[in-house]
């Protein structure tokens, strides 16, 4: 019982520390925080049914978005996947996935930038934001 209390106290301390740090962090980057917040809404509507609330995807079908080269790597490729979709088996972190990702070309540049900024800064990911200008540049080539 004493041990449980010790662990709980430790949890509170760690939580407070994380909370304070993230508060400071979000104060420093208000632009990202707003984009992440808008991106969450886009994710809930268009991405969550397949990639799931935890970003872990569905085994064998829909790939995870957690610390993968697709999510954290080349932003142009990532934007292209959202705009054009993806078919055929792919390997992500040692597992294979074969469901179809539809094109999301109907999303606005702002929505694509926001949702990718959200994904790149959620599910333990931490990466630079995706800007509207970057999406616009890729869209011009995709069309």
């Amino acid at each position: 019982m004493r041990n449980i209390k010790k662990i709980l106290v430790l949890l509170v301390v760690v939580s407070l520390a994380i909370g304070c740090l993230s508060f400071i962090n979000s104060q420093q980057q208000p632009g990202i925080a707003a984009s992440v917040k808008r991106g969450n809404t886009v994710y809930m509507t268009y991405c969550l049914p397949c990639h799931q609330a935890d970003g872990a995807g569905v085994p064998n079908l829909n790939p995870p978005l957690i610390k993968t080269k697709y999510v954290l790597g080349d932003k142009k490729e990532l934007i292209t996947i959202v705009l054009k979709g993806l078919t055929g088996e792919i390997e992500v972190n040692g597992e294979t996935f074969n469901n179809v990702m539809p094109s999301h070309i109907f999303l606005t540049d702002q929505q694509v930038a926001d949702v990718l900024t959200y994904v790149r800064n959620s599910f333990t990911n931490k990466a630079t934001p995706v800007t509207v200008a970057e999406v616009k540049a890729v869209r011009a080539k995709v069309k």
Binding site: S22, Q52, V58, N60
Partner: protein, 443 residues
């Protein structure tokens, strides 16, 4: 206290913290609310014995027959109790595993593997082992010890079936007249011009129906058969992973996986809640030349009708061309993914199980943001080839907890097979556990 915890958990799940601030508050709330309280107040799942992880009705027990086999899909048991397992991913370069319990303690102690292809289907009949890749079916001659005589000599009996990744499990069942039935799933959700894409219309007629979205019948003993040699036995099935020949009425029964994404594609017609429940996962009596309506129709268990799919002009009520389509014997809640069907013919279980149907529900992913469902084995009592009562849970607890995302699940039931003594085997394709379920009336 219990209520607060559930609320906090629900809030966390549904809102998804947009940054760590929210996570921090939720966590803080949880931590403080735990103080000074008995943590046993937190809702616990029905206790499952730790050695097997699953719960069963009174009188039934299970053993972990084998573990950590890999992506164990379907299983088949030979007359000597040898269990053959088909793997969806190669393990140590092999795709089929043979297991045997030599000392009779309910756990396999001999194991060998062979076959360099992946797949789902496996069956044993009249001295042969049948196994499917995602493109065709092979068979191997067994000796009187039910060992494959030459694992390098696989006879290819069916080849060249559609495999485009999506819905490519070639599940198999055999009748007593020398025929083998194979599912050829549609590599599509609803035959749209652009698959799973909002606003893309349904193709009419759907060109996929010629070579997929049905059950094909082939001969068990002819080599190199393909579409031209087989018979399209039934059509209009999107994907069937579980199927079985019911020997008591000499008919094929199949379990259809219904379509996805009604709310995603048509939010103006279906709420998230409706989309989680619709369409039904269907138990179908697959008589020759039956048409179950995919991609034009889906089954709504509330209206008890086949309804026109919205990609083909449906409005969630209209039947249109679906009025004359064959209907299911039974509709289960949406997206549970019935991956195996087995008619019980053994004498070990109580009489009410005889000729009834066990169904392994792999578990859903397309009910998000709502809680997922399935992840258990159900039983449906049967009389004269028809369901004779409501389905009931048989084996539960595979997931280990409530599942909001499929990766939460510890195990996912995928295959069923009956042992020569009437025991029931269940396979899992997350870790590759095989359970052996037995019954003892004295327990």
């Amino acid at each position: 206290m219990k209520l607060y915890f559930i609320k906090a958990k629900f809030f966390f799940r549904m809102q998804m913290p947009t940054n760590l601030n929210l996570l921090f508050f939720v966590q803080l709330f949880f931590v403080f609310s735990s103080f000074g309280n008995d943590t046993t107040g937190i809702k616990k799942a029905k206790a499952a014995p730790p050695e097997t992880g699953i719960t069963l009705p009174t009188g039934f027990t299970s053993t972990a027959f084998a573990d950590s086999l890999g992506n164990a899909r379907h299983i088949a048991v030979a007359p000597g109790g040898e269990v053959f397992v088909k793997l969806q991913r190669l393990k140590n370069g092999k795709g089929i595993i043979r297991l045997k319990d030599m000392n009779g303690d309910g756990k396999a102690d001999r194991m060998m593997s062979f076959g360099s292809y992946t797949g789902t289907g496996v069956a044993v009949k009249n001295g042969y082992l049948y196994a499917s890749s995602n493109k065709g079916i092979f068979r191997y001659k067994l000796n009187d010890q039910n060992e494959v005589i030459d694992t390098s000599k696989a006879e290819m009996i069916v080849t060249g079936l559609v495999d485009k990744g999506q819905h490519n499990s070639k599940s198999i069942a055999l009748d007593d007249a020398g025929n083998i039935y194979v599912n050829i799933g549609a590599p599509s959700n609803a035959c749209q011009v652009q698959d799973r894409t909002k606003g893309s219309p349904g193709q009419d007629p759907c060109p996929i129906l010629d070579s997929a979205a049905g059950i094909w019948q082939f001969k068990v003993d002819r080599l190199n058969q393909s579409y031209g040699d087989g018979v399209r036995y039934v059509t209009g099935t999107r994907n069937v992973v579980g199927l079985d020949w019911n020997t008591s009425v000499k008919e094929l029964y199949i379990m259809q996986h219904g379509r996805d994404g009604l709310n995603q594609m048509f939010p103006e017609l279906y709420t998230e809640e409706q989309s989680a429940e619709l369409p039904a996962e269907e138990l179908l009596l697959a008589r020759k030349n039956a048409n179950f309506g995919w991609p034009y129709c889906y089954y709504d268990p509330n209206q008890q009708k086949k309804i026109l799919n919205p990609e083909y002009g449906g409005d969630a009520k209209k039947q249109g061309r679906c009025a004359g389509v064959d209907t299911p014997l039974y509709g289960f809640p949406g997206h549970w993914a019935p991956n195996s069907l087995l008619f019980y013919t053994g004498n070990m279980f109580p009489e009410r199980y005889k000729n009834g149907a066990f169904i392994a529900f792999h578990g859903s992913w397309n009910r998000a943001p709502l809680k997922q469902g399935g992840y258990f084995v159900a039983f449906v009592p049967f009389k004269d080839g028809k369901p004779a009562g409501k389905w009931e849970p048989f084996a539960e607890g595979f997931a280990g907890k409530e599942v909001y995302q499929p990766r939460d699940a510890v195990y996912r039931p995928c295959g069923l097979a009956q042992g020569p003594d009437g025991s029931l085997f269940i396979s899992d394709d997350v870790k590759g556990r095989i359970w052996k379920v037995t019954y003892n009336s004295n327990q």
